[in-house]
Symmetry: C2
């Protein structure tokens, strides 16, 4: 069997499974999810053995210690993974919601109802827990999933998927389609473009990972892609900002968890308050050894602070997601320039303004074309849990399909049902 035949078969099986998944009741899906959670929780030795094989591969590949850590499963992580699946089981059913309803003059009743999307491909990097997360969210929404994790995590990922499928079949018997959750069974790089050209079987691809991965997927995919692209997030401190609030939000957005995609990379300060705000913000962040990269004006204002790590920012810096204790700064002339900077360098993820002036805030909220825009709040809130979605499969920086945090509702499509009594078109 060629690789193309193998991958085409995988995709075709997923499509068939998706038809069967659409027929499961809400209760059946939740029962299966509970069984999957229990199976994962009880399979510690098996998961650790599979993971040990992957760690061997990782060592051979010379992975960094950070990557080895991400790849590692242990009892606590297995328990967390199982707990995540259990939580998904407990969430309300996102399928079958009535999104719109209208009765036409001829009596035809039209209902727009949420449905599964069909077959969803998830492409991600090393953490094996993503396998259980993504598979459970897709299963909850009635979607068949095809998972493609990092090549070094294949054994762990296959074991997780197999445990989940076995649990599903124990619970629902043949009503649970074995191809509901599949892991691409090869590390061959060519598998990805083949999979993403199966337009007749695959309905959506969601890549999660670094910029290179996202670009490679977008480049080769013939199926719709929802991207979870980098977060170059901004905080704009307006001339009418409460500077205590601005400092507190900056602290939270920059250093509470710099590795998060919703952490701030760039601070824009209105020149009317820059003299006061910039040095004070810098002194505060210096306690976490934050490095500053600024325009000439910012650096001048920061000059007097002893031992501050700072240098001139390049355009490249302004477009970079550091995920680290580094902050770009720039002094600008008002909200209009802030908006322009964000459109030029941002990634349309999450941006915030601090101001006491509602008109200025409304201008920022209207003009900034990002998935989430905040007034007087931290960008760190862009997260499915913080949004009350219960779970999150990622954060979309796209504008078609879903935007911002993606929970269960965002993993649904819809269809229109027409309830008639013999109506024909005039």
């Amino acid at each position: 069997m060629t690789l193309t035949e193998q991958i085409t078969g995988l995709a075709r099986d997923a499509k068939t499974a998706s038809r069967e998944l659409a027929r499961l009741s809400s209760e059946e899906r939740d029962l299966a999810l509970q069984a999957m959670a229990e199976a994962l929780a009880g399979a510690g030795p098996e998961l650790l053995a599979a993971n040990a094989l992957d760690l061997e591969v990782g060592k051979t590949l010379g992975l960094s210690s950070a990557m080895m850590d991400r790849l590692t499963l242990n009892e606590a992580r297995i328990a967390a993974m199982a707990g995540g699946v259990q939580e998904v089981a407990a969430l309300p059913d996102p399928v079958g919601r009535i999104l719109d309803e209208r009765v036409r003059p001829n009596g035809l009743r039209l209902q727009k109802i949420s449905t599964p999307i069909g077959v969803v491909v998830i492409i991600y990097e090393s953490r094996p827990n993503v396998t259980a997360d993504a598979a459970s969210l897709c299963f909850k929404t009635g979607n068949a999933t095809i998972l493609r994790g990092g090549k070094e995590a294949l054994n762990s990922n296959q074991t997780i998927a197999r445990l989940m499928v076995e649990a599903g079949r124990r619970t629902l018997g043949p009503r649970f389609p074995a191809a509901a959750i599949q892991v691409v069974p090869t590390t061959d790089r060519e598998a990805v473009p083949i999979l993403l050209s199966q337009t007749q079987y695959v309905d959506l691809c969601m890549p999660r990972g670094g910029e290179g991965l996202i670009r490679a997927v977008t480049e080769c995919s013939k199926v719709p892609v929802i991207k979870h692209y980098k977060g170059v997030c901004h905080l704009y401190v307006d001339r009418e900002a409460d500077l205590n609030m601005a400092e507190s939000i900056l602290w939270n957005a920059k250093v509470q968890r710099p590795s998060a995609c919703n952490a701030v990379e760039t601070l824009l300060v209105d020149r009317a308050v820059a003299v006061e705000f910039l040095p004070r913000a810098a002194r505060k962040l210096q306690s976490r050894n934050v490095e500053f990269r600024g325009d000439a004006q910012s650096l001048e204002l920061l000059q007097g602070i002893p031992d501050l790590r700072m240098k001139l920012a390049t355009d490249q810096d302004y477009a970079t997601e550091y995920n680290d204790y580094v902050l770009n700064v720039r002094v600008i002339a008002g909200v209009g320039e802030a908006v322009d900077h964000i459109h030029q360098f941002g990634s349309a993820h999450s941006d915030a303004i601090v101001t006491a002036n509602e008109a200025t805030a409304r201008k920022f909220l209207t003009d900034v074309d990002s998935a989430t825009v905040y007034w007087n709040a931290s960008t760190r809130f862009t997260d499915g849990g913080e949004f009350g979605m219960g779970a999150e499969i990622g954060i979309s920086t796209d504008k078609v399909g879903a935007r911002g945090p993606m929970g269960l509702e965002e993993l649904c499509s819809y269809k229109w049902l027409g309830w008639g009594t013999g109506q024909v078109r005039g």
Copy 2:
């Protein structure tokens, strides 16, 4: 300037224009649309002169008479085009609707509001009126449009777009961005893949036209595509159908307008009623000289009808959108087989069941994975106007972004606004 530079410039200008469009008020957009409608209505001689050039090109290209007719503008068509723009002006503003709202325990108020998508590329075939339709719908939704019509319609399309832009600028002055509505100024085929690789500027592409066009666009596009693919629509007549209703719906769905994408191509009949229903349906449709292509069983039941045009159907027939007085028929064993046939051969557009049994109907509505599924109604209702959307830019057979008839709301994206009072993440 190379073609790549030219097309990149066009896309970049559209993105800049889209930022400016997002700042226009609802009233400003409607004023501009009214002015555009008047400009088109008053520009008969200019439009006819441009169209005459295109008709010359069409003759040289040896277009069929049907294609020449589609390409032709006349006073009535110009009036209809202007009237369409006027109607769009009168529709409610689709931008800024609050789609969801929630206040988190920390007091952060989250609003999900409808926004323009940004830059929308429309690729279509010969009818020049699509230029005005698509441009007005996109402008109403605050989107910048890049239009690519048939190569034989370039002069007409450019004139329509120029008249609309001039009217916009007369009305709103420099607040109306000249690049709000652009026609790709070349017939070079290479322009399309270049345009559809501008992921930093283009947010969505909507191809409208034949299967070849749709496939070519999907194949080359790096930006999200919402397809308006063929309509291989089905009518399933169940064993518990009211056969008078079934006959009336079949008549409407097949012969009221066979060229429409929501017309039925295939009739599936439950074998329990086939002996009674098929011959009577055939005699009725014979009055319009409909040709039947059926499986062996159907043909046997139809044998006794004098002069009926009929032949054995191939798998290819079952997958074909005829847009003509041709009907596939097949005798099947119940709703399950109907669903399977539809999934194997259909195009996920519009499908209907006629039955008096609610459980059977619900099974069909749930299991058929198409954009619109009807119970006891004609498939011909799949249309923005019939759905009460006021206008329609097409009918999506995709499952991500929009599905089924696409009106103004379906030309919108959304963003989340976070209204805070200094909240930071714990």
